[in-house]
């Protein structure tokens, strides 16, 4: 029985190379790990409280905030804020907070507030805001709502957004449509869609008027434009008639265009942040997009790109005017952070009118504050800033559903859309499944909240 392993002795050559590589590795480590530390900044930081600030932005949005951070650091000598661009911030923040090493300030999405708050991941800011004299009246109502949950204030907005129908005026003209009269109802949207769509000889789609999947960032929320809500207190309303109507509309897309043709069409789309963005190359004529789209148009679209903005049309019995998703980036202080007062000082700084206007102009967005200077709007580079701002003030501006199960709910809704688009379920069937699962999920979550609430409320009222 030959169980002796046949490993020959190392040749001298192999040994030499190995020792060589090993030594190089060991020598390289301190060099490489030490890269990127800024000694000049170290000196400046001495004596100050150093705050770690994580935010989700990169590119020009990050640059705008970096400018604000620099100004803050220069304006006083007690606090130094260290800005870090972090991808997948929701998950990372959760892991870091759970792991006991949270950043001092985090810039999360508004929709995360309920789940973080209910899971004791954030510090309530009521006291700190009161001390600085920050009140509800300072903000556009839609955004103040996002900051509050279960009776406490959890964060303050950094930059706001609304979403609207953004369309290519040149393509409208080419198709014989009036570029200054965008569609006002869903029926009209589909008329325009038919006129704008071009197909090739073999049925391949070359250009489409409107494609819900491009960019498809709010696939869970189509019901909003049909007057639907996704949660009503302790009830999930995914299967309510208004919401179902919206997804039945979605279902007409694979029926009309062919599911596989749509997939092929989308597979060939270029990078969003590049000149090959399908909206900029004219492959999609109308998109549901947010106020930030101007950033991308400015940097990537062809110089003769003509575009218009209008409220996304709504439909059916629930049709209302100027429906939009009003969301914002939120600055929060994770629980367990070591310097809440200093952190809040920075957050309050960002929320002062001149600084907020500076930040929002840098990110080419409007301001979430109730009052904004005329100069801000007049000199704003964004050609359609007033349309987006008007949408934010609309009574039909809503945020994401304020529920702690939103991540799971949204995942299920996205899966439902995926099934509808793949043709493996009708809108009703897909939504039935979401309804059943998420109702159970919500019931469990409400149980958990009932159990945890008394202790948590006591804890929060002390802070």
């Amino acid at each position: 029985m030959s169980c002796a392993p046949r490993i020959n002795q190392l040749s001298n050559n192999e040994l030499f190379w190995l020792r060589f590589c090993f030594s190089i590795f060991i020598l390289l480590i301190p060099l490489l790990v030490g890269c990127g530390s800024d000694s000049h900044a170290e000196r400046e930081r001495q004596g100050r409280v150093v705050l770690k600030y994580w935010d989700k932005w990169n590119g020009f949005e990050a640059e705008a905030m970096r400018g604000v951070v620099e100004d803050f650091n220069k304006s006083q000598d007690r606090i130094w804020v260290d800005f870090n661009s972090v991808s997948q911030i929701d998950r990372r923040l959760m892991l870091a907070t759970a792991g006991g090493v949270p950043p001092d300030i985090a810039g999360v999405w508004g929709y995360s507030v309920p789940v973080y708050a209910e899971n004791n991941a954030l510090m309530p800011l009521d006291e700190l805001a009161r001390e600085k004299g920050i009140r509800a009246g300072d903000y556009i109502p839609a955004y103040w709502t996002l900051c509050n949950h279960v009776g406490h204030l959890w964060g303050l907005p950094s930059t706001p957004t609304t979403i609207a129908l953004v369309y290519n005026k040149k393509l409208f003209r080419e198709a014989g449509l009036d570029p200054d009269r965008p569609p006002q109802t869903i029926a009209e949207l589909e008329e325009y869609n038919a006129k704008l769509t071009r197909r090739g000889a073999d049925g391949r789609i070359e250009r489409i008027g409107f494609l819900p999947e491009e960019p498809g960032w709010w696939n869970a929320l189509w019901g909003y434009w049909w007057g639907a809500d996704l949660v009503d207190g302790s009830k999930i309303t995914a299967r309510a008639p208004e919401n179902t109507a919206a997804y039945e509309w979605l279902q007409t897309y694979p029926d009309r265009f062919g599911a596989d043709k749509l997939v092929s069409f989308r597979d060939g789309f270029g990078n969003f942040a590049s000149p090959q963005n399908p909206f900029f190359t004219g492959r999609v004529a109308m998109v549901l997009q947010g106020v930030w789209i101007f950033n991308f148009i400015k940097n990537y679209a062809p110089s003769d790109f003509e575009w218009g903005v209008a409220p996304f049309p709504s439909s059916g019995s629930g049709a209302r005017d100027a429906v939009t998703l009003a969301e914002c980036d939120m600055l929060v202080i994770p629980s367990g952070a070591k310097h809440p007062r200093e952190a809040f000082e920075f957050i309050a700084y960002v929320n002062s009118q001149p600084v907020m206007e500076r930040l929002c102009r840098g990110q080419l967005k409007f301001s979430p504050l109730a009052v904004c200077s005329d100069e801000f709007l007049d000199s704003h580079p964004h050609p359609h800033i007033r349309e987006f701002l008007a949408l934010a003030k609309s009574p039909n501006a809503k945020g994401y559903p304020r529920t702690a199960i939103w991540t799971s709910y949204e995942a299920d809704m996205r899966n439902a859309v995926s099934r509808i688009w793949g043709g493996s379920a009708t809108a009703g069937e897909a939504l039935d499944d979401v309804q059943a699962r998420q109702q159970k999920n919500l019931d469990r979550r409400i149980e958990r909240w009932k159990r945890m609430e008394p202790a948590l409320q006591k804890l929060w009222s002390k802070q």
Binding site: C3, R6, L95, S274
Partner: protein, 280 residues
């Protein structure tokens, strides 16, 4: 005569099949390298080209710059790898020695338990281990990535034990009669005979640590502390879409040290793998 001809046709068929298979296996890597040298528009061109119209070596420095902390990632990964290798080799050798060169009661039963632990999937232990490291205050540091290596993983112990068992018993016996302590025998006699096997364990551990993704994903929090694997994935998920040429360039760079190591130690690598699948 016909047997020779049958033999020759057989060989020809084998060559053809192997060549087709080899092309299929090498094509992805070649494609990765080719894409890494293309300008962005060409990455999405139809029909796809193998040789870019202009060879853009600058994709590499561009990718490194976009990844921001590439050199730090490399340093971090090297740190974790070197510490892991050291920990694994030393602890696995000790433990394998204990399971093979000393006769003690219950030894083989305990070894079966060790084998059984290979069946425990990491995801099962992930959450409590995360909690454990949190209590120790190690989340956000590199310790969770290399410290477990110092506690002898089952697979490496298994591998080294095979090797130790094959060494003749009398050399240990002779040393014991001479009054040598067990640890002395281990250090002065057995270990020097095992350099090739230790090298194999080191290589496997290096490869594992270089590739490890799930560990860094949950234990590292600061972007600048990421390892290359995590940094690459982070780079992929950065923007709304993907700049394939940069991503392929970055992937090639992450792959390169592994390839280098392989070509330097080919023989040991191959032989190590061959014996690991040996008689159970």
């Amino acid at each position: 005569m016909s047997q020779k001809k049958a033999h020759a046709t057989q060989n020809l068929v084998v060559y053809i099949v192997l060549t087709i298979a080899a092309l299929a296996f090498i094509a992805p890597l070649a494609w990765m390298f080719s894409t890494s040298l293309k300008p962005l528009q060409e990455t999405m061109s139809l029909p796809p080209r193998w040789i870019p119209t202009e060879i853009q070596w600058k994709n590499y420095p561009e990718a490194i710059e976009e990844m921001k902390y590439f050199w730090r990632y490399t340093g971090n990964t090297l740190l974790v790898c070197v510490l892991s290798v050291f920990g694994t080799v030393s602890s696995s050798a000790l433990v394998a020695y204990g399971f093979s060169r000393i006769e003690w009661r219950g030894r083989d039963q305990v070894f079966v338990v060790l084998l059984a632990t290979m069946m425990i999937p990491f995801p099962v232990t992930m959450v409590p281990v995360y909690g454990l490291f949190k209590e120790l205050g190690w989340i956000g540091t590199f310790k969770p990535l290399w410290a477990p290596a110092f506690f002898a993983g089952a697979f490496n112990v298994f591998l080294l034990r095979q090797f130790f068992l094959a060494l003749p018993k009398d050399i240990s016996e002779a040393a014991r009669i001479d009054g040598c302590s067990e640890i002395g025998i281990f250090l002065r006699i057995i270990l020097p005979l095992c350099k090739p096997a230790l090298l194999v364990v080191a290589l496997f551990q290096f490869l594992f640590s270089w590739n490890d993704f799930l560990g860094p994903l949950i234990f590292l929090t600061e972007q600048r502390d990421f390892t290359l694997a995590l940094g690459l994935q982070s780079f992929q998920s950065q923007q709304g879409g993907t700049a394939w040429h940069h991503l392929m360039a970055a992937s090639t760079l992450v792959l390169l040290p592994v390839l280098l190591l392989f070509f330097l130690t080919q023989k040991s690598f191959i032989e190590g793998i061959s014996t690991s699948g040996g008689k159970n």
